[in-house]
Symmetry: C2
Subunit: 282 residues, 2 copies
């Protein structure tokens, strides 16, 4: 059996863990360094990824290309790959709506690229049974084969493009949606002068909920910058399904207000609550 070559666009914290699982599974793993950050360089070097340097070179050498990027960039990355005359299998593993996934799938199919709809549930895949790559499409099994060993779990959910994306949207709708809701609640309670009373009520009967909530609100700040776009994808998905998109439009608003904490070590709760309440007045 020939070793499959697989390219990752672009190996961030999540992407590099998928790349490592592909290596474990016997694939030769590439990335393209052109225009990428110092951190991405370090990540790729640390895990021994081969540097194809340019996207064009990566597309020439790879059988499979995987896109793992912030939601807003998904179509741009796909378009760049099309422009490189890639003719292998393209796996879009981004947190985007099923409609957008289907649109990208159609564009790829039009130029003869095999398309697989993928979505990731869980954090970076360094331990077994913690991170799932859901896959949909007629070539989903072939994509799953790239991750047959290694800690990443794969799960094929059918042939219909959009199903893996829809599952991700519904799953994240609660995890990230409820965290955004708690951010808004703590900030509103602070503004209304009842946060101590709310936290006391939450703590009745020895419950740890108040402390857990404070931690959730502080810890989410480093990822808020990319959650905002994901919340907009979920809002669009809900509207398309005939359900109200308002929960996640509000969640996007919440995450945008704290997006500037991206590179800040976990800020204090007071700093986060101030940012949540002040953004409106900008």
């Amino acid at each position: 059996m020939t070793r499959l070559s697989i390219g990752f666009l672009h190996p961030g914290a999540m992407g590099i863990s998928l790349a490592a699982s592909a290596q474990n599974s016997g694939c030769t793993v590439y990335w393209a360094s052109e225009g990428r950050s110092k951190q991405t360089h370090e990540r790729a070097a640390e895990h021994g990824l081969r540097d194809a340097q340019t996207l064009r070179a990566l597309c020439e050498v790879c059988d499979v290309v995987v896109s793992v990027c912030p939601p807003h960039a998904a179509e741009e990355v796909a378009a760049q790959v099309r422009a490189c005359a890639f003719r292998g299998l393209y796996l879009d593993a981004n947190a985007i709506s099923p409609m957008r996934t289907q649109r990208i799938g159609r564009e790829m199919a039009r130029v003869g690229i095999a398309f697989v709809d993928g979505s990731i549930i869980g954090g970076p895949a360094w331990e077994p049974r913690r991170t799932w790559l859901y896959l949909a499409g007629t070539e989903a099994g072939r994509a799953a084969g790239c991750f047959s060993a290694g800690p990443l779990e794969t799960c094929v959910v059918g042939e219909e493009i959009g199903k893996a994306a829809a599952l991700k949207m519904c799953f994240a709708a609660y995890t990230k949606g409820s965290t955004a809701l708690l951010c808004a609640i703590l900030a509103a309670a602070e503004e209304l002068g009842v946060r101590p009373e709310l936290e006391a009520q939450w703590s009745r009967g020895g419950s740890d909920f108040a402390r857990q909530t404070q931690e959730r609100v502080r810890q989410v700040t480093t990822r808020a910058w990319r959650f905002a776009g994901e919340m907009e994808e979920i809002a669009a998905t809900f509207e398309q399904a005939g359900l109200p998109g308002g929960f996640h439009a509000a969640a996007a608003d919440v995450y945008r207000r704290i997006a500037h904490f991206k590179d800040v070590e976990t800020p204090s709760l007071d700093e986060v609550l101030e940012a949540l309440a002040e953004a409106e007045r900008v």
Copy 2:
């Protein structure tokens, strides 16, 4: 010490439990039967409440009047009490925004009625340490005295009118807001054809979350008719505090879609999901 007379407008499932705690605490408890439903008659008779028959008579005989009604009716009930030339202490225990509570308080003060801002957290108060009546205002201590014994717990949160209401809004923002969010998620997953996969993901590692969510979505239907108004109060409260009101505007939409299950024995999950998805198309 003279026995205090206290009147309840109107003894529903929650109000009757407050009335029982007031009886336990030595108050003489009234209601006014005029225009009330057969169920309210039965409830009041069962707990031995004295029937003042009309609101006017109740206002003449009572030292304290307590309003426990659906959010939309709070101002109307207060206006009716003002029209009866009541001059005692008025406790508004409804799930309304601090702004509306303050407005009612100003109207009552204008005609010489002592006003207490109250809010209830928990279900009907039949067991100790399960239901809390939060109270705010200069007369809050006097209102608390009406419930000094009995299972209802009281908690004075200060003199500022609106603080008890604000606390209730923030607390219910999560309990009822997250239930509405889960209703929307299950219905979206159903529409998108990924509910089995979502429930399987939720059930990983032996988690009970999928089953609990199904039960929450089915069980909330009997109370959805009055939650819709409460969600609108929370949305207004958040907007006033400079936070996005969209979470709870969406939650109000969700609860309106299933409000017609008010008098239905717990419907099947399929019936609820169908109602959640179909309302949009009416």
